[in-house]
């Protein structure tokens, strides 16, 4: 499991042969491969998070800025063992009984204010922020009882229930951002000023935020990794209008736009511009899925044959080619195919087949009326991406071809969240859930039952399958990694067989940058990593 997946391995090998080639070129006098120190990188930012503390808010919007300032215990890596590279922790191991995990911490690390980093900071972050406050940590660390600190460089996590170390390990990059105890121990954590002006151990220090205009980060000269970072400054230019990023790149007002801030439709055009490059790498561990959420409270949709018919009515190749312009791949199930540990293609499939879909609907007893309509539905596409809205329009047509009349209801983010996850006022919805490296982090919640109304990005469609719940519960407490993987493979097959929701496609984002920016996309979470080795070729 050293490499992320087959494609990544190829990419990595291609990358290393390129490195060899450039090393060879160096001998002949080409200076381009030696990183240059200094310079300012200006990147586009499409939002200004209300809280920049990644120990409280583990989201890509926060990480995009804060990951350069505040570091996790370990970061995702293409090459490292278990897909990880050490950051604030240098080694980690889990006890066989699943009741403890030990982290050896890095020596000689200081906070940006000069105070030394110790195991106290890790214990404080875990017990006072990750477990009680963090959107992901509240689930992953729910059984965390205490963190022992036998010495300054050792932190021992103790759990009240057996907790799979594999899950903790997979979650390290996203949920273990460490913040300084000495800054957070006084007063209310939620209103600490450091939530807006983070203090960390990372390669860049937070310098200033001009609301509505920019964030500025500056080089941390005391960074623990020698000779890093390369850049002097990173500036996040706030461009709320997505159309603005492409223009700003062309006019050289910014040098990089991550997270597909340049819309897919503009890529072909901007690719023609000299010195601008399109990079799809660096999002392998941030895969989004395009999913049709189903409200099983609707009598028609509670019938498996109807759900199968809908799956057969969707032409995934068309979706990938036309909506994602090729920058996506068809999804086989709830785990994306680029996951190195859990993915299995060995699941039931529903190839595009309108005739089969019609037969299934006929069998289910939903005959066409005089207008050719079997029944009508309310379809709510999530407003978060162009692609989710466009897929909503496509799905309406696809459903029409099998006699299901879907009425599209467009909402903004707040209204969509409430309609789907609290009020259940939908029949079908289009959602873009994120896969976070382990099915237990935010994937099983999409199909497990008995969740109260109001849980965002969870099963609010009323789907309830005791067999599925039992499988999810068993996998959650299984400690043996191999056994755990086998259970999640079974889970994927069960989801695909019973269709609590329909996984249509999976995609990563696109980075568009000036050719001068180097080392883009060299880790699986590149856009939300620390950019210490990013440099500008002048």
């Amino acid at each position: 499991m050293m490499m992320i997946h087959a494609v990544s391995r190829r990419r990595f090998l291609a990358g290393s042969s390129l490195l060899l080639a450039s090393g060879a070129m160096l001998k002949f006098g080409f200076a381009q491969s030696a990183p240059q120190r200094g310079g300012q990188l200006i990147v586009a930012a499409d939002s200004e998070p209300r809280n920049l503390n990644p120990a409280i808010v583990a989201s890509n919007g926060v990480f995009f800025i804060a990951s350069k300032v505040v570091e996790p215990l370990a970061e995702a890596s293409f090459e490292g063992p278990d897909g990880l590279a050490p950051r604030l922790a240098v080694s980690w191991s889990g006890a066989d009984d699943g009741l403890s995990a030990t982290f050896k911490l890095r020596e000689g690390v200081t906070w940006h204010d000069g105070a030394p980093f110790t195991s106290q900071d890790v214990a404080f972050s875990a017990m006072n922020l990750w477990k009680p406050l963090q959107n992901l940590g509240r689930t992953i660390f729910k059984d965390l009882e205490a963190v022992d600190t036998p010495d300054d460089l050792t932190a021992v996590f103790r759990f009240s229930q057996p907790t799979p170390f594999q899950l903790i390990r997979n979650a390290l990059p996203a949920v273990t951002s460490v913040v300084p105890k000495h800054i957070y121990e006084e007063g209310d954590i939620a209103s600490n000023p450091a939530n807006l002006q983070p203090v960390g151990t990372g390669p860049f220090k937070f310098a200033e935020h001009r609301p509505g205009e920019y964030y500025r980060l500056v080089r941390n000269d005391a960074y623990w990794a020698d000779d890093l970072p390369q850049l002097d400054e990173i500036i996040y230019r706030v461009l709320a209008d997505r159309a603005a990023a492409a223009g700003a790149l062309e006019a050289e007002e910014i040098q990089l736009a991550a997270f597909s801030m340049v819309p897919l439709a503009d890529l072909a055009r901007i690719d023609q511009v000299d010195d601008i490059e399109i990079k799809p790498e660096g999002y392998e561990a941030l895969t989004y899925q395009l999913v049709v959420e189903i409200n099983h409270r609707r009598r028609e949709l509670a019938d498996l044959r109807v759900r199968q018919a809908i799956a057969h009515a969707i032409d995934t190749d068309f979706v990938v080619k036309t909506i994602f312009l090729g920058y996506a791949s068809p999804a086989t199930g709830p785990v994306p195919s680029n996951d190195p540990q859990f993915y299995t293609p060995d699941v039931p499939t529903y190839p595009f087949d309108v005739a089969r879909a019609n037969t299934l609907l006929d069998e289910a007893g939903y005959k066409r009326d005089a207008n050719g309509t079997r029944f009508s539905l309310k379809l709510l596409p999530a407003p978060y991406f162009n692609e989710t809205r466009q897929f909503g329009a496509y799905l309406r047509q696809a459903l029409a071809s099998v006699g299901i009349d879907a009425e599209i209801v467009n909402n903004d983010a707040a209204a969509h969240q409430k309609a789907v996850y609290t009020d259940h006022a939908f029949d079908l919805a289009v959602a873009p859930p994120v896969y976070r490296g382990d099915p237990a982090i935010s994937t099983t919640i999409l199909v497990q039952s008995d969740l109260p109304a109001g849980v965002p990005f969870s099963n609010q469609g009323g789907y309830s399958n005791p067999e599925m719940d039992a499988l999810i519960a068993k996998a959650a407490t299984t400690l043996d990694p191999g056994e755990r993987v086998a259970l999640y493979k079974q889970f994927q097959a069960m989801v695909k067989a019973d269709l609590p929701l329909i996984n249509v496609a999976e995609w990563g984002f696109i980075t568009v940058a000036r050719s001068s920016v180097q080392n883009i996309g060299n880790t699986p979470r590149w856009a939300v990593s620390n950019w210490a080795d990013t440099w500008i070729n002048t």
Binding site: I42, S47, E48, P49, R50, N51, V57, A58, S59, N60, G61, N135, L136, R138, T139, A190, S191, N195, L196, E208, R210, P211, G212, E213, Y214, R216, I235, R237, V238, L239, A240, D241, A243, A244, G247, A248, A251, E253, Y384, N411, D412, A413, A414, A415, H416, Q417, K418, A419, Y421, T422, V434, I441, S442, L451, P452, A453, G454, V455, P456, F457
Partner: protein, 330 residues
């Protein structure tokens, strides 16, 4: 002078009532929108559990009834406290104070430019109604007026900022430039050229057409005939008699447009990435940040009321009949 003071007093009294209506109206409008600030925030979080959203609602005071929240807001407002923003977790007043100058600068420059240039061109066109230049200006202004503001903004961007690179693409000033004094002023002016151009070109057409129409109307009045009969030179008739009387509807328009400009600046501020009140209002609605939105609307309402008061005073100066209630003339 008494006439003016009386006018101001009456307007201030009416304004308080208007402001109260604005507060309550905004509150219930946003209350009627589905979803609250926590729902909007949950979308950005990307994951969570039931306990988290409940805790956030309690923390942000959203677990209270709408009436209790409105009452609390009114109480704070009576103590001149605009509250704290939920989406920025900072005091509303501080946020609005940062953004207001940008919007005022954008709006003020655009209004002054379109009003000044529009009325001048209107006078020029209306001096000889039906002439070639009148027709040319009429057609030109109609074409301009028909163009949507955001489209004009984008075209200006593509031509002058991306292709020719004469002017900066976006923002109110060069980021983190450290410029001070005159250099900073010049930098801001360069950044304002395109957005002000886009905003004022459209309103210029409006002022031009209103002025021109009012001029044409004034030419048919008896006092113009009388002035002609008295042998007053045409130039003086145009400026002193026709144009001065034609100014009245234009001044009315100025008052009305100042409110519309605040709205129009949302689009222009978004296209040009200018951190102003318009974009802030959009973010407040998207994030269901009721107190921030009410703060913005209140400040905007005060602005519009102040501008209209100034317009009324200008009116009183242009037309002695205005505000003199004793004469009984409307």
């Amino acid at each position: 002078m008494n006439r003016v003071l009386g006018l101001i007093g009456r307007r201030l009294l009416a304004s308080m009532f208007v402001l109260g209506l604005v507060v309550v109206g905004t509150f219930f409008l946003l209350e009627a929108a589905p979803g609250d600030a926590v729902d909007a925030y949950a979308a950005a979080l990307g994951a969570g559990d039931a306990g988290l959203t409940a805790e956030l609602r309690a923390q942000w005071g959203l677990d209270q009834s709408p009436w209790a929240r409105l009452l609390a807001y009114g109480y704070a407002l009576a103590h001149l406290d605009l509250g704290r923003s939920l989406i920025f977790s900072r005091p509303n007043l501080e946020i609005i104070r940062e953004r207001l100058p940008n919007t005022l600068l954008l709006m003020g420059t655009a209004t002054a430019l379109s009003f000044g240039l529009g009325s001048l061109l209107g006078i020029w066109a209306g001096a000889r109604p039906g002439s070639f230049r009148d027709r040319l200006l009429s057609i030109g202004s109609l074409a301009l007026y028909a163009i949507p503001g955001f489209w004009l903004g984008l075209v200006l961007l593509v031509v002058f900022a991306i292709e020719l690179r004469w002017l900066p693409l976006s923002g109110i000033e060069t980021i983190a430039s450290g410029k001070q004094g005159f250099a900073r002023g010049a930098d801001i002016a360069r950044h304002l050229v395109l957005p002000v151009g886009a905003l004022s070109l459209i309103y210029l057409a409006l002022y031009l057409r209103v002025m021109r129409a009012a001029m044409a109307e004034a030419w048919r009045q008896d006092f113009v005939l009388a002035a002609k009969a008295r042998g007053i030179p045409r130039r003086r008739i145009v400026l002193g008699h026709v144009a001065r009387n034609a100014m009245m509807p234009l001044v009315t328009m100025l008052g009305l447009q100042s409110a519309a400009m605040l709205g129009g600046s949302i689009v222009i501020e978004s296209v040009f990435a200018i951190p102003g009140l318009g974009r802030l209002a959009y973010e407040a609605v998207a994030g269901r940040d009721t107190s921030l939105l009410m703060g913005i609307i209140l400040v905007s309402a005060v602005l519009v009321i102040a501008i209209n008061l100034a317009v009324d005073l200008l009116y009183a100066w242009l037309d002695p009949r205005v505000g003199a209630n004793t004469t009984g003339v409307a």
